[in-house]
């Protein structure tokens, strides 16, 4: 049994390593093909990441991505494709910012209220897709795409000064007003004024919760079982519709949290330039991290690194799209190499089964093809 595990570890490392190497090689080929120095841009990026302030940026961004990716991963774990994380996250950030700015409570309570409102809002928005799927069989892919756009319109309306928004004098921006300091989440200050959002740590802690719930609770088992085989899960006693609803709600609630690091740690208001597209990056990261809390962690760091490090490319005279290309290549390289490694692993396992049976009970002898 122990030997089996060692193989597993080796295989687990082989995948990502193979992937990163080939992704960087491919990027270099692309650069060389377009007549650009293939090494220097990469050097610039790595250089960038050696600055403390960029590192903090990466970490903070990774926390945001981590939450978004967790939200997506919860859906994926039971074969629900929540494309709507983006809308859920924005709506939740907006509503919770409004609530946060309009009340004043003692510190921890204030923060807790904002977080709660965000989770409820996110869950509400994803819950619509959940109800439509469970009750009416509407594909969540379609409904969440639509709900993203509807969220945009709804936010645009809500944030008008005549509704819930504020237009600060002299500004062309629309905001939700400022959250008083009691509603800020304490940050970890390092060096000269560099702040790691406190919520970043909450995000990573949530990864542990995610792992625990999924792997150590009955609910998590049911959820994974549903994802692995809906029919088998149903026969095992899982109420599929309830499961769809529950996981959609949880996914939305976590999506709602994705706006919190920024809202509680940086902007303290929701405005027109609050970032868009986090949910989509979350999809990439969840897929890259194969829905595992650790995988997602590294994937979030990697994507955040490329994001932030490539931002410095244009000041160094290179197109910063190199970063985007690199992300695409990494996704492909990672999944392809995972697949290759997986196939190799299965082949080994099959061989083992075969050998065992041949040796022990002589039911089956060896054979080269693998049956799935």
């Amino acid at each position: 049994m122990k030997k089996f595990d060692k193989d597993k570890v080796l295989l687990a490392i082989a995948g990502p390593a193979l992937a990163l190497v080939s992704a960087f090689l491919l990027t270099m080929i692309v650069l060389a093909a377009s007549g650009v120095d293939p090494i220097d841009p990469l050097r610039v990026m790595i250089d960038q990441a050696s600055y403390e302030d960029v590192q903090v940026l990466i970490l903070n961004q990774a926390g945001i991505y981590y939450l978004a990716a967790l939200a997506v991963a919860i859906g994926f774990r039971m074969n629900l494709f929540n494309i709507g994380v983006d809308g859920q996250y924005r709506l939740a950030a907006m509503i919770s910012a409004v609530v946060g700015a309009s009340v004043s409570l003692p510190g921890p309570l204030h923060v807790a209220l904002i977080v709660l409102v965000a989770m409820v809002t996110g869950a509400f928005w994803s819950g619509i897709a959940g109800v439509l799927k469970a009750k009416r069989g509407v594909s969540e892919v379609v409904s969440t795409i639509m709900l993203n756009a509807i969220a945009t319109a709804l936010i645009a309306w809500l944030i008008l000064p005549k509704n819930l928004g504020v237009q600060p004098p002299g500004s062309n921006d629309l905001t939700t007003g400022d959250i008083p300091e009691s509603g800020w989440f304490p940050a970890l200050t390092i060096g000269d004024g560099l702040e790691v959002y406190g919520f970043t740590f909450v995000a990573f802690a949530l990864g542990v919760v995610y792992w625990f719930v999924l792997n150590r609770t009955r609910f998590g088992f049911d959820l994974r079982a549903t994802g692995a085989s809906e029919s088998a899960a149903q026969a095992s006693g899982v109420d599929a519709k309830k499961m769809i609803m529950t996981s959609m709600l949880i996914s939305g609630a976590v999506a709602g949290l994705a706006g919190m690091p920024l809202l509680l740690g940086e902007s303290h208001t929701y405005n027109l330039s609050f970032p868009v597209g986090i949910g989509f990056t979350g999809i990439t990261i969840a897929l890259l991290g194969r829905n595992s809390p650790i995988g997602i962690f590294f994937a979030a760091l990697l994507i955040a690194f490329i994001d932030k490090a490539s931002a410095g490319l244009d000041t160094a005279g290179y197109a910063k799209e190199i970063g985007t290309i690199m992300q695409g290549l990494i996704v492909i390289a990672v999944v392809v190499s995972y697949e290759l490694v997986r196939r190799y692993g299965i082949r080994r396992q099959q061989q083992k089964v075969g050998q065992e049976l041949a040796a022990g009970h002589a039911l089956k002898t060896d054979n080269k093809e693998v049956a799935a």
């Binding site: 009416r136 509407v138 795409i145 639509m146 309306w157 897929l287 392809v336 697949e339 049956a371």
Partner: protein, 421 residues
Amino acid sequence: MSTSTVSATSAAPKKDGGRRKLTLPWILLIIAGGLALISLVRVISGADDLTSAGQISGALQLAVPIGLAGLGGLWAERAGVVNIGLEGMMILGTWFGAWAGYQWGPWTGVLMGIVGGALGGLLHAIITVTFNVNHIVSGVAVNILAVGFTQYLSNFTFDEAPGGSSKQSPRIEPLTEITIPGLSDWLATLQGKHWFLISDIAGVLGGLVTNLSPLTVIAVLLVPGTWWVLWRTSFGLRLRSCGENPVAAESLGVNVYKYKYIAVMVSGGLAGLGGAFLAIVSTGIYQEGQTGGRGYIGLAAMIFGNWMPGGTALGAGLFGFTYSLKLRGGAENVHAMLLLLAILLVVAFGWYLYKKTHVKAGVAAVSAAALFLWYALTDTIPSQFVEAAPYVTTLLVLALSAQRLRMPKADGLPYRKGQGK
């Protein structure tokens, strides 16, 4: 994958002919009814643009890229490959279409747009078919790469061209538009009279024959074309069999890999054509971020249309229509839609009452009343809600229509040759 087909027949005694089929007369009747209803709303609300020729041709133009992306999705998924990379393939289509279009004319642009999309399809096929990787991952990767590559390439191409920049291409010569001279004028006058139903029909027909881009005609023809190829040729049969039961197909000597490759490349090509349409016909220019999620909407249209070409076209048409309503008339048109919705709900109320489902009837009645009130008490609705109209409509239609979606059975599932049982 090829687990026992044996137990699939769970349904017990089944009367034959239980399946009611939509026959042509029925479809025509439904269309006529819908038109009459819209006409009624137009007359009451005075929103004359509801069925004007411009409205219809605008709708058509907005629907074409979505419809093409949807058809692209259909080709891939009918062969068992989920294609969420449509957006990326569309982006490639806009870029290649514009790049070739501004240099060598629009038709070359169209061709290169298709090629560009097909290249994206090829990549998707290599990853999903040969490497058997999760189709969604691959699609997402294709999307990211398409964005990255086109933006990167623009720095070397459009940026250096006169009239272009790193974000947009120089102008592309337009394709000559088709208008049937006498007919469209006659229809236009007829429509101008604002008669009940007749003007509406004239408007719709007028929209279909006025200032028509040849590419629109091609795109529309691709709908029946796709149906014919996939459902009436042996090529199509083989292709669909790969999406339903690849192992069975393999056991009959069908080269599943080949068909999947072809399907995904055609899929990319169609999405690319949609992109080229955007660049060449809709705008005459490549513009970064121009597709703006239309690939995803196309995918939604395909699911909406139950993986059938006609349904996909219907989904795209619905979206194009509401979108055009929103853009052209904004508040007024969408306001009129409130009335339409209210009337539809009254119909639903009657139906539920007849079916004796009182709770649903109640909900329908209350919603209808609320909508009537909203309609009567306001003259317009906030532009933000107008913005959401196409999406809300799609969602409502999906939620209210009975869902019996049937996706190809092996759609999105991994397949490896020689692994069936």
